[in-house]
Amino acid sequence: MRAIFIAAVYAVLASAASAQVSFERIVQADKEPGNWLTYSRNYQGHRFSPLAEINATNVGNLKVKWAFQSSHPSNEVSPIVVDGVMYVTGPNAAAALDTRTGRTLWIWRRPVPSDYHNIGFGRVNRGPAILDDKLYVTTLDCYLVALDLKSGTQLWATKVGDYRLGYSMTVAPLAIDGKIVLGVSGGEAGIRGFVDAYDAKTGKQAWRFWTIPGPGEPGHETWSGESWKTGGGSTWVTGVYDPDLKLVYWGVGNPGPDWNGDVRPGDNLYTCSLLALDADTGRLRWYFQFSPHETHDWDAAHVPILVDAKINGRDRKLIVNANRNAFYYVLDRTTGEFLAGRAYAKQTWARGLDAKGRPMVVPDTEPNEKGALVYPNLNGATVWFSPSYSPQTGLFYVAVREIGSVYFKRDAEYKPGTFYAGGGEDELPMDDAWGAIRALDPTSGEMRWEFKLHSPPWAGVLSTAGGLVFSGSDEGNFYALDARTGKPLWDFQTGGGINANPISFNVDGHQRIAISANEVLYVLGL
């Protein structure tokens, strides 16, 4: 009897591991509420789970079902879950886990070269992508790797950039129709950034869009001399996709050197911008620059969110973003037209946004030799961790950091593969800093409620059809709030700072929530 039972379980796992995750399945993600098929669960970037078993009434009974010790400190992974198997990543590592028990089904590792340096960020990875029979992982030494879903066997590895020049990858790739789209880190190393797409079957490059235009290209005139060659413009956070418009939306990081803009007068396109790229060709359809000539390290590397809503009585296809620069933006995602914007956190660098969404900058807020006190600090009012949109409540949720900093400007000399920053910051003391989860009206950015946090957070937000919002604190609290009011309903001390995005999925028809806290991935359920 026991042998039969075990055989049955293995049969379930075997059939699960051989599942094919087609592009159509990801487009129709809401038809599979028990799975989590792409970084933000759907192409619209919502990080919303249609599962409702866990709700405001019973969330107090949430318990740990299993934990997985990854051995990757400050792990930022957002897992993929398909048909009973969870796929997780770490720096140059991936694993398949049984969603019932957390036991590993396979592990893949790739050595980090001994001469690799991470310049300006941690040795982390934010998650894999899945398409058909392959798992896609980016590596610190800047390769896109395709793994066989059933075994973790490496099928191919394509070099994306040269890590010796500071190019690196921590991003979860985005799998679309036959292509894997990704971006690079290295904005503090004087790279010239790009967004790339690769053929999902072969790993051959399909297109590249340079985030800094070369000579003769529109936007090149916003750079001076040779500064465009080392102008940064990294692309290190996963974008979103509109399958109807066939546009990929991707955020671009800060210009380099970060805190000394003297060598790069001009707006420095397309740094600190949102790009709308043709998914077939990589051609630029439109762009919107949030922070022209940026000097505080406020990358526009965010997961933007696609929402359809009425604005002034007219149905609009929108793309919205709570930016690191402390402003919330509403754009038309067909044209890039600026529709609305307002500050959603304390900021002291701009008087507001003009009619076209350009910031009206306050004088003397650039870094200087003596130090300039500005809100927010370099990590911004929010940063790479994901916001969430709930179609159920119609609210946009974002984890907000309330902290200022004294910004310094220093000389910057470019040496390939080294830190190219031109200054830095001195954060205000932590007892003067705090954080919050804020619920915003997605069409205006007006705050609907706020839940205060002890310190500025590093964790993303998940909303669910159970009327809940989940997130984590830097002190290790994982917690649930009422999605309509922000009232705290449940919390659990994980023992490790949370630097990750939560997800939700089903195991045997019952809802689970997963969150990574430092090295440990927790899976919780009723």
């Binding site: 991470n118 830190f419 920053a421 910051e425 001195d426 917690y479 001390q493």
Partner: protein
């Protein structure tokens, strides 16, 4: 000072080695007498809150090797007016619980949902912030009495000399 998060691991190791080579706080020539200072320390009740060389109570910071970490000038400032030089992260708090009990003490830890307080008897209190009637963060305050005026100038010199002499055994 700008933070050094951008250093490579090699840079961090090199900077740490350099800082270590700078050595500990050097001994200043001090007017006081450490032996007499030990008596002042004993008579003034310092051991009620501090540990030196394994003896005393652990309510306040351990002073066993404080001479390595703090200059004589810093020690003098703290003895005269403790609130003027609170250690980084130090916070004195006062709470009123749901049952009306008042608890004062040093914050041992805090997160969004809970706070842990060490009271003067050394007892730890674990409290849910939502359940408190009041939580006051007494920034800039210290439970340590100020010895300015309470001890004469010679006794202060002696006490500072005693504290400055509390160094790690080589």
């Amino acid at each position: 000072m700008p933070e050094g998060w951008f250093f490579s691991e090699e840079d961090i190791a090199n900077v740490a080695a350099y800082v270590r080579s700078l050595g500990k706080v050097p001994s200043d020539p001090l007017p006081g007498d450490p032996a007499r200072g030990a008596a002042v320390y004993g008579k003034s009740g310092c051991a009620g809150c501090h540990i030196v060389a394994g003896a005393g109570s652990g309510f306040g910071p351990d002073l066993s090797e404080v001479g390595d970490r703090r200059s004589a000038a810093y020690l003098r400032r703290t003895v005269l007016k403790p609130s003027a030089s609170l250690p980084e992260g130090f916070l004195f708090v006062k709470v009123v619980t749901a049952t009306g009990q008042t608890i004062e003490g040093i914050r041992a830890n805090e997160d969004t949902f809970s706070i842990q307080i060490k009271d003067a008897s050394g007892r730890f209190h674990s409290l849910r912030k939502q359940e408190l009637k009041d939580l006051q963060k007494l920034r800039g305050q210290s439970p340590m009495p100020a010895y300015e005026g309470a001890l004469d100038a010679v006794a202060i010199d002696d006490l500072v000399a005693y504290l400055a002499a509390q160094r790690a055994q080589e």
